[in-house]
């Protein structure tokens, strides 16, 4: 989430006038369960993986190779949200220890990561005055933000900031659809999915090609992913072509159809009340079909023979009528798919992805409202991810205190349930990424060397 950069005096100390996530202000004395400032201090002191974050953000430039750009890490923007909603933008650091010390010292409630700029953000004023706009983002991961509150019109178990195991699978489905497309369609390899700490997921695409995308290109990918269009005023928010684009077709047959029919239908009881089934009937343009169905369902009519769940029965009835071919118009034919897409297809926050300078919360932060750590999610087994059992700050500290006193464990986090997450982060994401970065740096160096050799021919 971006905020206004209001500067007072020469320091970048900003009193945040916007609302923090969820729209609730943090009260200094009413620490929610699982989160408090002292715990956070210990967390940053012992558990937060500072070195890994530094390695990641360096993208291989912290090495000794002559082609490494020593200024690279220092041009990355970080922002800290402190206690009492004090907000510091354009923080930058020149080494791992600078980053670590600043975090330990300031103990930010939230750390956001911004883009890599053309020059050190701390020096931006000097360049802005030259009028040529040379202070500009040059690299930034391709990012996505999926928040379950955007699905509030299709989940009945929770609303607002709450999440439970009945509605969380919507996030799982979103991960599967987007992850597959990023890899198969766009050819990206270095993708990190992270739990946002409360009610959603973030995605960081870190390939060099992704980091160098322009705003227009980012917007085009976000639009490629967009299907759901509309607000409370429009009845039909999904309009599909026949045939579907292969990306949508694959998403439907491999993920969405099955999820809708075997999970969501039942967990959300989509046809169980008149209010709920009317919402679905609204999506069918043909009056004769909707009145026929209404006739079957009104007054809680039920086939006395069937032992099957009402929702399943009614969905089958709806499908049978729409797909019967009785009504030749194209509308009813695609309706079944449109209904499935309306409920299950990923809903992205477009603005987050479109602009290079958009800030996003760093992984391994602790969510102030829930106390939960923003841990990575493995897209290959994301169905197993349970947001209700993600380690909280207080749990981790407890584990640290009572954990084994083995001397051979180098890292504190290994004593705790955070260990699994850090190890996953390293092996599945960071190591392959750094290997690829090293290759990229070496290759481009060799190419330049070759080129200059050639150009020396008289």
């Amino acid at each position: 989430m971006t905020r206004e950069d209001i500067e007072s005096g020469s320091q970048d100390m900003v009193i945040d006038e916007g609302k923090p996530e969820g729209g609730e202000r943090m009260q200094g004395n009413a620490a929610p369960e699982g989160f408090n400032v002292n715990y956070l201090k210990v967390y940053y002191g012992k558990l937060f993986p500072h070195a890994d974050m530094f390695k990641w953000m360096s993208y291989g430039n912290d090495g000794k190779h002559p082609a490494c750009d020593q200024s690279y890490f220092g041009r990355r923007e970080f922002s800290f949200t402190l206690d009492n909603d004090i907000y510091l933008r354009f923080q930058s650091f020149n080494s791992a220890s600078e980053l670590e010390n600043s975090i330990k010292e300031k103990c930010p409630f939230k750390i956001d990561i911004g883009p890599v700029y053309s020059v050190d953000p701390a020096k931006r004023h000097a360049y802005a005055q030259s009028g040529d706009n040379v202070f500009a983002p040059v690299e930034r991961e391709l990012i996505f933000d999926i928040d379950i509150t955007d699905y509030d019109d299709v989940r009945y178990c929770c609303s607002g900031a709450d999440v439970c195991l009945d509605c969380w699978p919507l996030m799982t489905v979103a991960i599967k659809v987007i992850d597959a497309s990023l890899k198969d369609d766009f050819g990206f390899n270095h993708i990190l999915w992270v739990y946002s700490g409360r009610r959603g997921v973030h995605c960081w695409v870190c390939d060099g090609k992704a980091r160098r995308l322009t705003n227009e290109q980012r917007a085009s990918i976000a639009e490629y992913f967009r299907v759901y269009k509309g607000n409370e005023n429009s009845h039909k928010k999904v309009s599909l072509s026949d045939p579907l684009h292969p990306f949508l077709g694959r998403s439907y047959t491999e993920v969405l159809k099955d999820f809708f029919e075997s999970k969501l239908l039942l967990s959300q009881k989509l046809f169980s009340t008149e209010e709920r089934y009317e919402k679905i009937l609204e999506m069918i343009p043909d009056e004769s079909i909707t009145s026929e169905l209404r006739g079957k369902w009104q007054d809680n009519k039920r086939s006395s023979i069937s032992k099957e769940d009402t929702n399943v029965v009614r969905w089958e009835q709806l499908k049978r009528i729409l797909q019967s071919g009785k009504h030749k118009a194209q509308g009813p034919q695609m309706c079944v798919k449109e209904i499935v897409f309306s409920f299950t297809y990923p809903r992205l926050d477009m603005e987050v992805s479109k602009h290079m300078n958009h800030l996003l919360k760093a992984p391994f932060c602790v969510h102030p409202k829930t106390g939960r750590v923003c841990v990575p999610i493995d897209p290959n087994c994301c169905e197993e991810f349970d947001p209700t059992s993600v380690p909280t700050l207080s749990k981790l500290l407890e584990e640290m205190n009572t954990g084994s006193l083995r001397a051979d464990i180098d890292n504190e986090w290994d004593r705790t349930s955070l260990g699994k997450s850090v190890r996953f982060f390293r092996s599945s994401f960071l190591q392959p990424l750094l290997k690829a970065c090293k290759e990229e740096i070496e290759n481009s160096y060799n190419a330049k060397l070759q080129h200059s050799k050639n150009s020396l021919n008289w």
């Binding site: 198969d184 995308l213 490629y224």
Partner: protein, 446 residues
């Protein structure tokens, strides 16, 4: 480009591909006559495209329209000169159409459309060469790869609106970052970082580049025109260039066709059956008021000359009306001369050839005037009444009013023609005398 007198020296020009890109004015010498004639031929092509587009012709049809127009107008007796004519005519029109925002906009749209249709008619190799010229070095998908992906490619083609033709088997493999609009609209199959762009879609990319280059060039041409050319060429090229934009390009009806002479007795009858609304109105007012002001006299008088009214008959006709108002003597003294004057002139003096629709539409009738184009100059109420008098049914009136609202006055007149005669007029109405001739031809063929 050098403009010379009648002596001509053809220079060798290396064409990189079949469609010139008009990147810079070539080193050619042009005869003064060719300067104007080439430009007018090209202008016919551009205007033809403009007309066809506003008649709602579909893109597939437009390709054929362009081919026909090009064949009809851009030929040259010496085959080697065809390319030169193409290039020269483009650059002359650039001079003519760089001078105002509206002219630039129109020229840009038509030249881009022309380029687009020509590109689509080219062979795959020629297209690739052109794409390379625009820094769009896309590789065509190999046969093997096409076979393995064609189902997906056709699925995408059928999923977009409007659907792409699945007959097109030429696809280009492009890094997805280079075609953000196509990716955003899910109009391409994307796989492992590449977008598979259909030939028609590549046309859009190429056309966009062409347009952007030409747009910048027009601005520069305008600057040069204002700063140097206009003055340097004030008595040679400037008048030609300035006249090009407003020229009417069809037959000028200065030599009336042999449809048989029209006699005064017949005028009432043929006015009912074959006059376009503008002339019916003038005729009606003349009969009513026994007078017309200057604008009306010119517009109607020249029209009558064009339909074949001989000078003596014309004099008798006008005298019969005017003398009822101003008396025979005053008619002879003040009005007869100018009628003779209109008939006496020969050659291509545009002032004395019957006015085209373009000219009539752009006139500004004031109080007491009845000339101009009713579709433009009448109030909605009056126009509806006039159309009603011509016995158009409600549906036809609505269609006409629709065209009027979108300022397609000539199309409105064409629809009127079609409604009255019960036949279609594909060429559209560009000249009142054309309306008359077409009407008479149709009626006599029945």
């Amino acid at each position: 480009m050098e403009i010379v007198g009648s002596r001509r020296k053809a220079l060798h020009y290396d064409a990189v591909s079949t469609i010139p890109l008009y990147r810079s004015a070539p080193a050619l010498e042009v005869r003064l006559e060719d300067f104007e004639l080439f430009a007018m031929d090209r202008l016919r092509v551009l205007k033809g495209i403009s007309d066809a587009l506003s008649r709602g012709k579909k893109p597939e049809e437009m390709q054929q329209v362009e081919r026909d127009l090009w064949k009809a107008n851009m030929k040259h007796p010496e085959a080697s000169e065809v390319v030169n004519k193409d290039i020269i005519s483009h650059f002359v029109l650039r001079l003519a159409y760089c001078r105002t925002e509206d002219l630039r906009k129109w020229f840009l749209s038509m030249e881009t459309a022309l380029f687009r249709y020509r590109f689509m008619s080219e062979s795959v190799e020629a297209q690739r060469a052109l794409m390379a010229e625009f820094d769009l070095p896309y590789k065509a998908v190999s046969n093997a790869e096409f076979e393995s992906t064609k189902d997906k490619l056709w699925q995408v083609a059928r999923s977009v609106v409007p659907p792409l033709s699945t007959a097109d088997t030429v696809f280009y493999k492009v890094p997805f970052e280079e075609v953000p609009e196509l990716v955003a609209g899910r109009r391409v199959f994307v796989h492992k970082g590449h977008a598979y762009v259909a030939r028609n879609q590549v046309v859009s990319l190429v056309a966009t580049q062409f347009r952007s280059h030409l747009s910048k060039a027009l601005i520069l041409t305008n600057r040069k025109w204002i700063s140097t050319i206009r003055e340097q060429e004030s008595d040679r090229l400037a008048p030609i260039v300035e006249a090009l934009c407003t020229s009417y390009l069809g037959p000028d009806y200065s030599e009336p066709r042999e449809l048989g002479d029209i006699s005064i007795k017949e005028i009432d009858q043929i006015a009912q059956s074959s006059f376009p609304l503008c002339m019916r109105h003038l005729f009606e007012k003349l009969r009513e008021d026994h007078h017309l002001k200057h604008g009306g006299r010119m517009q109607f008088g020249l029209f009558l000359k064009g339909i074949g009214l001989k000078l003596d008959d014309a004099l008798a006709f006008w005298k019969a009306e005017f003398s009822q108002k101003v008396g025979a003597e005053r008619f002879d003294k003040e009005y007869a001369y100018s009628i003779r004057h209109n008939y006496g002139r020969e050659g291509k003096r545009t002032d004395y050839t019957p006015y085209s629709c373009q000219k009539i539409i752009s006139s500004s009738p004031g109080a007491g005037d009845h000339h101009g184009c009713p579709y433009r100059h009448f109030s909605e109420e009056n126009l509806r009444a006039a159309l009603g008098k011509m016995r158009l049914n409600n549906r036809a009136v609505e269609d006409v009013m629709d065209k009027v609202r979108s300022r397609h006055y000539q199309l409105a007149c064409t629809l009127t023609f079609e409604a009255i005669h019960g036949t279609s007029c594909d060429a559209g109405i560009n000249h009142p005398n054309q309306y008359f001739t077409d009407s008479q031809k149709y009626l006599q063929s029945k």
